[in-house]
Amino acid sequence: MSAIIVTTVLGIIILYLGLTKNKTILAPAAIAGLLVTLFLSAKEWGSGIGYYHNMVIFDNFSIAFNVSMITITILIFLFGIDYYKRMEFHVAEQYSLMIFALVGAFLMTSFSNLIMLFLGIEILSIPLYVLAGGKKFSFKSNEASFKYFMLGSFATAVFLFGIALVYGASATFYLPEIKTYIAQFHGDLPPMLLVGLLFIVIGVSFKVAVAPFHFWSPDVYEGSPTLVTAFMATVVKTAGFAAFYRLLGMGLLPLPVPLEKALWVMTGLSLLIGNLVALRQGNFKRLLAYSSIAHTGFIMLAMLSQHSTSASVILYYTFVYSLATVPLFIIFILVKRASNGLDQLSAFQGLYKKAPWLAVFMTILLMSMAGIPPTAGFMAKYQVFVLSISQGFLAISIFAILMAVVGIYYYFNVVREVFTDRDHLQDLVITRINAGLIIVCGIAVVAMGIFAWNLPI
């Protein structure tokens, strides 16, 4: 709870610091504040206190996800030091909007009441609509913002409608009570309740971009400022999955059959569409957008396996995925700057020649995304498959493995570009902080692969 208060206050402080017109203090102040939040969150480990009549409960699950999201946000802010150097105005607003979004993310990991979930999603989303339009004079950025806002509000409406229907049937917003209510029907749910649950699931699916509710994500990823894209691909995704898991785990398990079928179809579609469409992408950000839809499919697989370790696997997967995604976006920005704003895959050509160490780290990160040992991405996928095969989902596991091959294909397409000879990256500039970030993330990805962990959450 103290984490939420501190973070909210931090956002306001950063907003006021913006008045000083001194950009250099913003990122350090924000990071210092986040470190405090990190500490306060971690301190509550094991206490499991509920607030506001248990509408939010800070149990180990939510703390683990909060810590993971704060860590990733710190990484993104460190990247922000260089990223926002060229921006003249409204830098403070960018930071504080991200901090406010983080508050929403905290609520999404700790709710036990549907109203709190709704609040969390809205607090997370509204800053993002603004952030997506951060490049005011860029057509694509405006498009991204507008699209995200329109589709996002539509999804929110569906989501609210679902809550209303469920409330109409069960007369409660509390997940445990909804669970008892569902249980009395023994799988044969009344239509109103079923439609309500389906709408709620669709609303959350939209946030994490599960196919077929993914159409916004490639355009929004491409148009948004890269730092915001990195934030969306990592923190927002993690929060979405935490909420999704909590929704299922706390309220809906064992899943009603129609709902489970719908979720399986969504999983299969995410794997299929994400991977196959990613094959055809020439734009790096769109590639990562589609590949993130594919990763969504893998995480859904872990979630639907409904095992006691699912939560830990999802935490590991999202954290590892975020840890590789952030530095990849950093490298992309560096390369894009050096090649006059080229955002195609061919921008990476000649990277090996210009900066061999960067090429090596990029390869490690892409290996992790593709799931090749000894990186953490492999351990994440391995654990997902262990889960899904343990529950006897052999056919979909084989399908997911085939899709993983496709994933390797397009990630190594990028590696191939990196190791192609060309001389166009002459003015590649890498600041010390960015270099440090890339190296730390690269080493962390390998270390977490060799020393894989699971948390009892």
């Binding site: 290996m367 000894p374 498959f385 052999l394 493995i401 294909y409 190594f412």
Partner: protein, 488 residues
């Protein structure tokens, strides 16, 4: 403990090499490390009892870092240990760009290969199995020839596809283990999986190995990859990597799913024999000498796969012997091919000829290697292939007949190629050709000595693998029915 040292030497040397700038020092250090490694591996032959190493690793997944070996892995380890000094020596007197990275990658490949052969549980095996691919991928990508980007890409995706099925199989087996799940080979082999499951699980596991070896029809990556690969890369690929496929099949299929093996036995033998004939015929039509050797290697490997699946004592002995003999021969062959390319600047057979006139010594050594490759009596190739054909004969006379055709076809295309390269009149387009240098002798003479030495006195190798072959035989004997009794 000694196995851990064997695994770490190449890895640590490789890391250190990255810091060294001096090309000569890099190569010497790499060579020294590989020689030390070979000596240590060789000492394992005399180490009684078997030395192993086990440490806790990922407890919640039931994975230990367990290293160990038996007769079969020892053959593979000896082969790896033996070939890498030669592979490294190949580059000794040659100018190569980015030397420290190249040799670091070569040593990383070696470490990963050793890891594959030492791993005592399937998870560790899989990790090392994948790790062999990464450094090799970069060796091919950065030092390869024309069209390397697309060819290496195909190679990479091809082999990874197989590996991922293997991964599925491993996780599936993992869940069958009783109690606290584990991936230990020893537990896997006591599973008693229902026959119906074994039948489909066979292909899930086998496909990874079939691609690595390669078995017809999974071979399409091989010729183009061999053609673009730098000599050292192709030596690793043909000399050791193919054996890794054989090793994997021996380790996974026979002890764990014996019923599946028996069920698919004839299918795989027939596929391999098709591969034998197919590769031989295509080899005969090649004008590029590397492609010729690639297909000839495929023919030999296919014969070895057939031998593996007839499930009898002779064939298994022959197979393991042939693993050593083929590895040594193919490295020598590729070395000579590299020499020819350096001296004539071409790989096309029609453009060569009469090299013997100017380089008689090279012609003689080349002939010796070719004879080893076509399995002439008194060479190692003969011992291996003779045993294999004997084994095939016990299964079916037709198998023996078609298997035997490799030896004939092999002799035809290899000697024909030899004739076109070395004999006849010298083509005017070729410039003056220098004979072997002292460095070449250092490399070729030991290899040829091994080829003939093992051909004349093969017993030590048989003694080495005796126990493992017997245990495998005991396992499969009740299943296969009409196997010949062990010679007493």
């Amino acid at each position: 403990m000694i196995v851990l040292i064997i695994l770490l030497i190449p890895f640590i040397t490789g890391l250190l090499l990255l810091l060294v700038r001096n090309a000569v020092a890099v190569k010497r250090a790499a060579l020294a490390s590989s020689v030390v490694n070979f000596l240590l591996t060789f000492s394992l032959v005399f180490t009684v009892p078997v030395s192993g190493y086990t440490a806790n690793w990922i407890n919640f997944l039931g994975v230990e870092f367990a290293l160990g070996y038996d007769g079969i892995s020892l053959v593979m380890l000896l082969l790896t240990g033996l070939l890498f000094p030669f592979i490294i020596m190949t580059g000794m007197k040659r100018d190569q760009p980015q030397v420290s990275l190249l040799y670091a990658l070569i040593l990383f490949t070696q470490a990963a290969l050793i890891g594959v052969f030492l791993a005592q549980n399937a998870f560790l095996f899989y990790v090392f199995w994948e790790l062999t691919l990464i450094p090799l991928y970069f060796i091919l990508l950065l030092w390869g020839g024309e069209c390397r980007r697309n060819v290496t890409f195909k190679f990479f995706i091809y082999t990874l596809t197989g590996s991922l099925f293997l991964l599925f199989g491993i996780i599936f087996l993992y869940h069958l283990t009783p109690g606290m799940h584990t991936t230990d080979f020893s537990v896997f082999s006591k599973l008693n999986i229902p026959a119906g499951t074994q039948v489909w699980l066979f292909w899930v596991l086998f496909i990874a190995f079939a691609i690595k070896m390669p078995v017809f029809p999974f071979h399409t990556w091989q010729p183009s990859t061999y053609t673009i690969a730098p000599t050292q890369g192709v030596m690793i690929l043909a000399g050791v990597m193919t054996k890794m496929g054989i090793y994997g099949a021996l380790r996974f299929l026979f002890p764990i799913i014996p019923l599946g093996v028996v069920y698919w036995q004839n299918t795989v033998i027939i596929l391999s024999l098709i591969g034998v004939i197919y590769a031989s015929v295509i080899a005969f039509r090649q004008t590029n000498i590397i492609r010729l050797i690639a297909f000839s290697s495929m023919a030999h490997i296919s014969l070895m796969v057939a031998a593996m699946f007839v499930l009898n004592y002779y064939a298994l002995q022959g197979l393991l012997f042939q693993v050593l003999s083929h590895g040594v021969t193919i490295v020598a062959l590729f070395y000579i091919v590299m020499l020819i390319e350096e001296k004539t600047a071409t790989l096309q057979l029609p453009q060569m000829g009469g090299i013997k006139l100017q380089a008689p010594n090279m012609a003689i050594l080349f002939l010796m290697v070719v004879l080893g490759s076509v399995a002439l009596p008194l060479t190692a190739g003969f011992v291996g292939e003779f045993l294999i054909i004997t084994g095939l004969f016990h299964q079916s006379i037709w198998f023996a007949l078609f298997g035997g055709i490799t030896m004939i076809l092999g002799a035809i295309y290899m000697l024909y190629a030899y004739q076109r390269v070395m004999l006849g009149d010298k083509k005017p387009a070729l410039g003056t050709i220098t004979d072997l240098s002292r460095h070449d002798y250092f490399l070729l003479i030991p290899l040829i000595t091994i080829i003939f030495g093992l051909g004349i006195y093969p017993q030590p190798v048989f003694d080495l693998v005796e126990a493992s072959v017997k245990s495998m035989q005991d396992l499969l004997l009740p299943l296969a029915g009409s196997l010949p009794a062990l010679p007493q």
